[in-house]
Symmetry: D3
Subunit: 264 residues, 6 copies
Amino acid sequence: MRPNSVKNRFLSGQPITNGWLSIPSSYAAEVVASQGFDAVTVDLQHGMMDFETAMAMLQAISITSATPMVRCTSMDAPQIMRLLDAGAYGIICPSIDTPELARAFVDACRYPPVGKRSFGPARGLLYGGPDYFEHANDHTLALAMIESKQAISELEAILDTPGLDGIYIGPNDLALSMGCKPGSETEGVVGDAIAQILRAARRRNLLCGIFCASAALARQRLDEGFHLVTPGNDANILGSSCKSRIAETLSESETTHQADITGY
Amino acid sequence: MRPNSVKNRFLSGQPITNGWLSIPSSYAAEVVASQGFDAVTVDLQHGMMDFETAMAMLQAISITSATPMVRCTSMDAPQIMRLLDAGAYGIICPSIDTPELARAFVDACRYPPVGKRSFGPARGLLYGGPDYFEHANDHTLALAMIESKQAISELEAILDTPGLDGIYIGPNDLALSMGCKPGSETEGVVGDAIAQILRAARRRNLLCGIFCASAALARQRLDEGFHLVTPGNDANILGSSCKSRIAETLSESETTHQADITGY
Amino acid sequence: MRPNSVKNRFLSGQPITNGWLSIPSSYAAEVVASQGFDAVTVDLQHGMMDFETAMAMLQAISITSATPMVRCTSMDAPQIMRLLDAGAYGIICPSIDTPELARAFVDACRYPPVGKRSFGPARGLLYGGPDYFEHANDHTLALAMIESKQAISELEAILDTPGLDGIYIGPNDLALSMGCKPGSETEGVVGDAIAQILRAARRRNLLCGIFCASAALARQRLDEGFHLVTPGNDANILGSSCKSRIAETLSESETTHQADITGY
Amino acid sequence: MRPNSVKNRFLSGQPITNGWLSIPSSYAAEVVASQGFDAVTVDLQHGMMDFETAMAMLQAISITSATPMVRCTSMDAPQIMRLLDAGAYGIICPSIDTPELARAFVDACRYPPVGKRSFGPARGLLYGGPDYFEHANDHTLALAMIESKQAISELEAILDTPGLDGIYIGPNDLALSMGCKPGSETEGVVGDAIAQILRAARRRNLLCGIFCASAALARQRLDEGFHLVTPGNDANILGSSCKSRIAETLSESETTHQADITGY
Amino acid sequence: MRPNSVKNRFLSGQPITNGWLSIPSSYAAEVVASQGFDAVTVDLQHGMMDFETAMAMLQAISITSATPMVRCTSMDAPQIMRLLDAGAYGIICPSIDTPELARAFVDACRYPPVGKRSFGPARGLLYGGPDYFEHANDHTLALAMIESKQAISELEAILDTPGLDGIYIGPNDLALSMGCKPGSETEGVVGDAIAQILRAARRRNLLCGIFCASAALARQRLDEGFHLVTPGNDANILGSSCKSRIAETLSESETTHQADITGY
Amino acid sequence: MRPNSVKNRFLSGQPITNGWLSIPSSYAAEVVASQGFDAVTVDLQHGMMDFETAMAMLQAISITSATPMVRCTSMDAPQIMRLLDAGAYGIICPSIDTPELARAFVDACRYPPVGKRSFGPARGLLYGGPDYFEHANDHTLALAMIESKQAISELEAILDTPGLDGIYIGPNDLALSMGCKPGSETEGVVGDAIAQILRAARRRNLLCGIFCASAALARQRLDEGFHLVTPGNDANILGSSCKSRIAETLSESETTHQADITGY
């Protein structure tokens, strides 16, 4: 079976940069996945695509060296199984707020006897190889989102879930759940909570990932000990870059001496 | 009929920034069109979409204040008529190399007796309003791409085509046709040719547009007297911004030694 | 944030006409939304579209002055959050049969601390504006479908749910649940139940909406005190209008004197 | 091979009602095709769909007893061949203005040695049956649009084209080409031209079809001797019917004062 | 209402061959459905399509004499209702492990007062006919998948569920749940379990279906008393047939004397 | 730039097996491309997909080791350029009947100064690599279809076209053009013509490809000296394999009397 390079980078201590896709397009997915990310995640929770387009986007990522991952919409076992069948090598699952949810999440990601995944590997066979079934349980990452006060109150039990590969922090939902505003993740109670989650997860050798609003923050998170960072999503990057280009295009410059063209 | 703000900006001497779409997605289109561009062009020539998606992208642009335009694949009259039916307020047509092509292009964009556009306005009615047919000939821009040695050799005759609203320069194809490399547009024979086209078009009060590889170049082009500039396309902007984010995420920084997390 | 005109019409006592979309097409959506409806609802429960097409249809509605709304497939919190992210300004949720469901429904529609909506506004930001997050809880309508005997038995508690903006009656499911046939909504026990729901909801100043099989019934419902009425859905309107056109085309008429063309 | 019921109705002197599809949706197509039309035409010229959706719409029509037809975008042989491969049983081709175009059109519709259609029947085999190739030339209708002054000036030669099955009049383009306005088709020079075309085509036993803005006009056209009439297109029918429903919903009625509900 | 030929074949003791679709394409669906299968099932659990494409695939199947069926992703009542609205005449539901799930499954498939299906038949009306609502409960098949140890432990109670039309065995998931490997279904404990399920279901005159890895196994299953067999899925058939063609193309043959072409 | 393995196999004398895609699905494309073909061709002429789906199918092929190729609908330069932009590494162009068409075809495939391809490599850059522009002219195959009597009459001049990489024979269209039936390609005048084309092409060291109705014929063609063979298309392979499975499932067998299950 094709190895999971994200898992291997984690095991060998290399940082993992993760692209994030909300635009429903396999072309945009390939554009992003070709830039050097170690992983690229199709976001079904806040992205604008359905499963079928997500599958095509996983295909696009599969052309590149980036590992194809998905954020599912919720802890929805049939959906998670379909995404794995479609070739996802990692699932980031929102709102794993309890040990029971964590257990159900891992079960959805693993074939029996370890879990309860239904057999029918489909694209998994094509991307992973003919021995996909034998090794899928080992190569497919189950990353639980820790993003609520409730999750923090049950953090140790959640993280002790057998088979869980790692965690992924959603800083904005975590902030909201703690009575703070989105964007307040680098200090105060939210900052403390993130540090607490990171420590607890690292203690268990779990892969620790986090969404970041900027590359600067992503770099800082790597420095803090996170293994996987997502420096923004495609729509925000595209939009803000366009806005910058417009501003730069229209900006006055001292060197704008138009005299040489008045002769037209 | 809803006025064409690009035309109005041109008439009132205001610069026009133009977004450029190659990603086949109405969501990406709305993201780009919401950033402040005066016009947004769906590129069917080098973009990855078909007509049906282009129509949905024109819808997305129509939500915003940007004027929806299209670059067609070639001087293909039935295609141009369909794109106008789909609500495009401007057509940028590749390779208008002869006065005959220029005439055929204008004919495709105008209802009789001025031109030969077929009746069936479809989305044009929805976007333009119930009096679309009466005013479409006045409000729809026909912009001819000047991008070859042949076009330059017949430049005056092409630009004299009655009904032509303006020109749009494709610097890379122009360079290739002159035996130069893509990207060689700011100096030498290509630079001279662009200056010549601009002068000839401005002399006739034609709208002058050009594709630019960067915002800096777009600003320069405005300074040179171009009315409409396209500071890059969506896929390139998205890709290069992602690449920058990865580099910034992984860059070393002096402040990287954060004693407070070494305890993990 | 862009105001919710449906909410404003409700607050100012103006009737609200609502279009209903089951055809999976952004073009059909724009055709319907351009006719003067105050709101247009994409129906994911009995309509033939998925989320991704629904998003494109919300874009199409956004071009017009109609307020974009959605009927979700069921009380499915992750789905509802995605539809709000896609720019829906109102959610009509089927089968709110208990106060618990009503509470969960409102929670899905509101950001913390009021509810549990996850952060990631996506198209909401584009349609609503950059201050979307600050005001979304106020501008997004949560309308609970009351359409079963069970719901009526818990009506007062359901309607007392804090944050619920209004109700929407599904007359046919209500009839079925009461042992009656579809179409039996204007009299008998179903008619009585509808009147009871309307009274209870109006007493609390809740917005009252209802699906109607015809414009005549819609007019009657406005007369009865409903604030929002849906005079049929797109597929039924299209189908029945086509059938009428065929019948009229083929009908005999006294004035059909064919003598003048017998010379062909 | 499955017989062509439109051809058979024509041969037996029965009127043919034709639905017209511009909405890119196989569901809308099935809704329309289920209402009793004898034929349903997917309009690629002024409709909003591409080939692939057109194919799905031809599938939808194939479920019903209506004969699946297509209007192509123009006299474009490769496109026409693809549409026949996709299962169209009739092609309506715009702007057959010369005998040469008529000949090329027939060639595109027929396998050698009669014409030049390329072999690769695809869906034709599924819809038509395994003997499709042997009989396709006989069962597939080639209908030339006569819609310009030029076409009228060469009318006899166009209509004499061997293998042409019939004509279809586009009244609005004909009017425009004659210096008149859309909608001026029932009188004056346009009315005379239509009568002339009809007479010339009937004299040769060609199938005569025409687009009509309303059912009343369609009925009149049947009375005049047309064999096939199209009483409006889907988008217009849907839009105008919605507008009527809104008006009826909001209209004042004498019975509006309903004392029994004023107590709400 | 259009009769359900699968049900009729079952009642008259005729074997039922069932095609299985995982490729998201209405064209592929029509290709498969045209080969003579009595039923064709769109597989949403392990197939790569969403609801909207599934609807188009049901349309494609509806062109042929095969009965359109669906395997849903899970016991998800809103999804099942949508698929029935889209014209499915049979639902195969995964993992009916308890009598409660069986009851909920039947409820989702039946209109009140028998079940809880919501009213809004959509494509059901087009495919089934105008009296769809009156007869849908009788003509729509509810087939429960028995595919786990837990289901076997409650087999009698599950099979006693009123309104259940039949069962469908998923041999691979059954094997996994019993600690065996996929493909171990013809002997040992899995073989015994399948025989036990078949006996229990036949005793109640339930329709018995099963997925088979090959035609040989399908034939054996018919011999064993199964009523409906699925001899492989589309992707596997396509892939393995391509592989065979490549092997045959490249195979050495004794008759390959190339001397006669060396003169080229 | 990523090398073109088809070209390399040709240069090193290895046989090339080519898959053929008519089903519009990126999943089906990956299924086919994963079976070991050296090349896989998306067929836009007789296949059921548009450009946008073709692009996604090229992505799917790009995941595998097969070289992505396309058959365009006709000698349509803008279309060919778009397909190259979408990442096709080879174009098979129908009906190259004259040296002029051959020259235009090569021009469409090559950047200046060799040809006239427009600059805008899009997906080509992603699949080929950042130096795509520099090497695309060398790595992209232009294969002209020889499939008519006219082409044979100008065969030598067509094959002498500078820059042409090879030919591809369409045996059925060739047969039709010679007054024969489809399927008559292995003997008589059609067989002779194919042998003549092969000889003339091999003499010039052109890559020689041909479509084959079966693997047996493909093997024979390799023996005859063809370099690239297409052993059937996806839809035919899928359909015929399904038909075989049904037949085998329903066939009588001597072992059918299984006493042990008569007790059910």
